[in-house]
């Protein structure tokens, strides 16, 4: 696999950014887009545009077919049993809100417990917090160990007879820890507890298989998978989509509408109210095709190499303190430098064209636990090279110089 060739498919790297080659190490935030994805959007709008599903004219029919085509592509890619188990949302955050809201409405009552972890992104905590306020449920946090991991044990410890759902990330966007999802699902199902997996960080980087994981819900964010913004996927087992109430109401999700009452449409329409993000869904097909073309196994392998090289390089830099040391780890390295605030690091790196992120990365619970207000984070995508890591390290040296650290 030739990364230089793959990188050429991403037009963002063609130009300099502020006179520097762009060293983009912020893919866990959002990934850059290959040309085929952007071209697809362009072509759709300029040659084929129509709304889907509602009109019977040629363009509308063609758009509807393209739209449904993406559903099938996603279904196959994540190995879901049925294409109607794929619901398009505006993002992973909405996908999680959808589940929390509808499952919460139907199944959560005062005193019930939702089990999440200390690693969760705010998008997998705040929606449950809403239920805490509305229904007086409890939220329990499985605790990380010293390596920044969540183990099967740490989940088991927090399960009680009141646990009504477990909602956990597949891959931490701070420590990079990969959770033992299959084992957790197994354990949960043995106690009749459904599991939602936040797959934002895993879906772009790991092979994921719904039938193998056997989780009940899986949330994916399109823009982190080299896809457009404004598109996400909720995978949910059919039995749940049939059983739960709808989330948003509007055109397209109805069966019959009378003044006295309303029946809802079939799956997956029931969960797709209003005009959907048609162009984004259609272009998302290209994102998955792009990943398939490169090969998710190749992506995994390349990013693992990068991560190992990154860990090695930064560990040699003895001012750098790496957060977490999980055995199973994805391409995310968060770190601090004693004496330089992460925001100052990010600003100074940026002057060298090195784009990283600083902050709490929407994980305040984890940062509280680590007694940090923020960290710096470098995260990898398919277009990154070892050279990028060398540049990161060089720029960190520069930081230290400015701050008079040795």
């Amino acid at each position: 696999m030739n990364i230089e060739n793959i990188k050429k498919e991403f037009p963002i790297f063609d130009d300099k950014v502020q006179n520097n080659d762009l060293v983009y190490l912020d893919s866990a935030n959002s990934a850059q887009k290959p040309k085929m994805v952007v071209d697809r959007i362009y072509d759709f709008y300029t040659k084929e545009f129509s709304n889907v599903g509602r009109s019977v004219h040629y363009l509308a029919v063609a758009a509807t077919n393209l739209y449904e085509n993406t559903r099938t592509t996603v279904q196959k890619y994540i190995n879901a049993k049925d294409k109607n188990e794929i619901v398009f949302t505006k993002g992973a955050t909405e996908a999680i809100n959808l589940v929390a809201n509808t499952y919460g409405q139907k199944y959560l009552n005062e005193g019930d417990e939702v089990l999440i972890t200390e690693l969760e992104h705010h998008s997998n905590y705040v929606p449950w917090h809403f239920l805490r306020k509305a229904k007086n449920i409890k939220i329990k946090f499985a605790e990380i160990n010293n390596e920044g991991e969540i183990t099967l044990e740490s989940i088991k410890e927090k399960i009680t007879s009141k646990t009504k759902i477990i909602s956990i990330t597949h891959l931490s966007n701070v420590t990079g820890a990969i959770l033992p999802i299959k084992e957790i699902v197994n354990l949960a199902h043995s106690k009749n507890i459904p599991v939602l997996v936040d797959g934002c960080q895993s879906a772009p980087h790991l092979k994921i298989d719904m039938q193998d994981l056997d989780c009940d819900f899986y949330a994916i964010s399109g823009h982190k998978m080299y896809g457009p913004t404004g598109i996400g996927v909720l995978y949910a087992k059919k039995k749940w989509l049939e059983d739960l109430p709808p989330y948003q109401g509007g055109g397209g999700m109805i069966g019959e509408v009378k003044k006295e009452g309303i029946s809802y449409g079939d799956l997956p329409n029931k969960y797709e109210a209003g005009t959907m993000a048609t162009a984004q869904v259609i272009a998302f097909n290209e994102s998955i095709k792009f990943i398939q073309k490169v090969g998710i196994e190749n992506i995994e392998k390349h990013e693992k190499e990068l991560m190992n090289y990154g860990l090695e390089t930064l560990r040699k830099n003895n001012s750098v303190n790496i957060i977490g040391n999980p055995k199973e780890r994805g391409g995310v390295i968060s770190f601090t430098i004693e004496g330089i605030h992460p925001h100052d690091i990010a600003t100074i790196l940026d002057e060298d064209g090195v784009a990283i992120r600083a902050g709490h990365h929407c994980c305040q619970i984890l940062h509280d636990k680590l007694k940090l207000t923020s960290t710096a984070r470098a995260s990898f995508g398919i277009y990154n090279t070892k050279d990028d890591i060398d540049k990161l390290n060089k720029s960190l040296e520069n930081c230290k110089k400015i701050f008079n650290l040795k």
Partner: protein, 154 residues
């Protein structure tokens, strides 16, 4: 066959003058269907005799030419057939409408097949496929004694 020919021939004939429209007294199976996209409704009535043969079949409903024609042609095709044969015809019809142009079926006569195949043109219009299949799904549900209103699938 392009769509205009389709409209001009069998569909227009059956669509404007549907056969077997109405309800008859001693039916023993029935089901309702609804197409949320266009608001069309259909109600299929039939009588299976002791030999599991379709003695009689009619339908009530309103809808576009395609759905009316499809229901009308359907009643003609399945009258006098055995239940098991009807199910086979339904399956083969749906396959034709959704997947192929050909109708593979050993029960129907050649001219019957030709008539049914006139509906295959709607395949180019996925939105209209629902119009063509609604009555067939409803018949299927009547045979299953289902109480649920059939909604056309996505």
């Amino acid at each position: 066959m392009n769509l205009k020919e389709l409209y001009q021939e069998i569909i227009l004939d059956h669509g404007k003058n549907p056969r077997n429209l109405g309800k008859f007294d001693n039916y023993n199976k029935d089901a309702k269907g609804h197409n949320p996209l266009c608001g069309d409704d259909v109600h299929v009535y039939l009588r299976l005799n002791e030999n599991k043969k379709v003695d009689d079949i009619t339908f009530e409903g309103k809808g576009c030419a395609i759905s009316m024609a499809s229901a009308s042609i359907m009643t003609e095709m399945v009258r006098g057939k055995e239940e098991i044969e009807v199910k086979e015809i339904i399956t083969d019809f749906l396959k034709m409408i959704k997947e192929k142009d050909e109708l593979n079926n050993n029960i129907l006569k050649e001219d019957e097949k030709t008539k049914l195949m006139s509906l295959s043109g709607v395949k180019q219009y996925p939105m209209r496929v629902k119009c063509a299949t609604l009555s067939w799904h409803t018949l299927s549900s009547a045979l299953e004694n289902s109480q649920e209103v059939v909604k056309t699938e996505k």
